[in-house]
Amino acid sequence: MKAYARGLCAAAIAAGTSGVAAVALGDGVQRNFAGSIQLDYLSVPTQDVPRREALDGATVELSLKLANDFSRDISAQVKVCYACHGFEVGMAFFDLRASDHLSFRVGRFTPSFGEFPLRHDPANHRTSDKPLPYDMGRMLRLREWNMSVLPAPWVDNGIEVSGTWEMGGLNQLHWAAYAIMGPKGNADAFDFDFIQSRTPSLYYIDNNSRPTLGARLDGTLELGETSTFSLGASAMGGTYDPDNKLWFFLVGADVVLRLNQVFLRAEYLLRRTQFALGDDPAARFRYGPGANGTYDDFFLKDGFYAEIEAPVRRFDFVLRWDGMRRLGNVPITSPLRSNSAVLRYTAALTYRLFGAIRLKLSGEVYDFSDFPDEVAVHLGVAGPF
């Protein structure tokens, strides 16, 4: 019933705006409607029943966005998404700008962390899926790995303060700091429980009365008239359990080299996550205590990707290398070890069929440290409207 109601809300937004893609309202208020769709089919030919280890088959990602410009300094955006989780609100915020050096974003939004989340919309990135450190459910063995380091888009309630300094030419410095609800988990958690962040039965509210804090600093350097080099650093931290005892810290670094229309991108993310040892760690964990007789109460999860994207007429070609690693004790039932890794090699191309609609094709080879290697093939169609 709730899903039905949410569907109706989304349909109402779409219906209310579809006939008015751009409207100038009274008092200079302007409204725009936009969206995107991706249908992707994931096949894992190295598995008889891929569903056991992946969300294979066809998935649709839909987004419907409404932007309202009240004035030059005040705007609001609402975005409704439909994908594997059903209808979700991906954006619902106000942007309030005092100056270029000081802006406020309040509501539900994706906080500034890393470079990829800027392009998370499937119509804005060329591969069918996301880089491993940002994967949200399309990687193979997602349950064994409990997904990625920071699934993108990470949507959360809170406030973000940001600013930009222009330093001539294409040179810019941008900063952001935010307070959000943060990830959630149980009091006896081994790791984040991502489902708790999108479960109406637990409410879309903070689970521990403490905000998660984060910040980002990035700069762009002009290399030539159409070439830039961008460098960014991000951090986020807080507690994720209801009792405020389990801490996590997440840091990231990203570089983007743009040579005209060719992009070279690389990012690295590292998360230190504290887990509950419980009353009897020996019964809970696969590995025993360290040399000092005590159990470590945290694990490290890091991930990276490096990719090159080059357009050639109606084609875009992407070569991507990404991976993830987990270091630390594991639950006694986990198939992972204390040092597990996955590397993935992706070759992808897109072909512009018509207007902005693209056919996406990619082949991926997974190299797991704890499981047999796998091959995955994506075929999809994506486009904005």
Binding site: A24, T46, S71, R72, D95, A176, R314, A356
Partner: protein, 131 residues
Amino acid sequence: VTTSVSPREWAAALVMALALVAPATLGFLGCRGPKLRTGLELLTQGRPVPPEILAACQLAAHRCSRCHPLERVDLAKVSSPEHWGNYVDRMRRQPASGISEADAHVIVRCLVYRTFGPEGIQTIDTKGVQP
């Protein structure tokens, strides 16, 4: 004599077949299909434009493709030259947009010309449309 083909061999064959067939097919379709405008040509709609607008559109083509395909610009519907001003300003405020305030003024000129022609440029010159 029976031979069995492992899933791994099927996968290798499938990937090789796709790698060979897909680009060839798409390339064939691309050569035969209607010409799609890309980059700068998409913004100027393939029409001759004044040098100032051409330069503005070159800048727009570069800046706007930082975060999204340029066709997003093609799809945007605006109701007035002022609307483009606010639209571009909202994009400029996105984190790491790479669009400076001076850039925004130039980009708006390209987009206004594209949508409203020389009359649109006249309007923003008269009214002084921000960003």
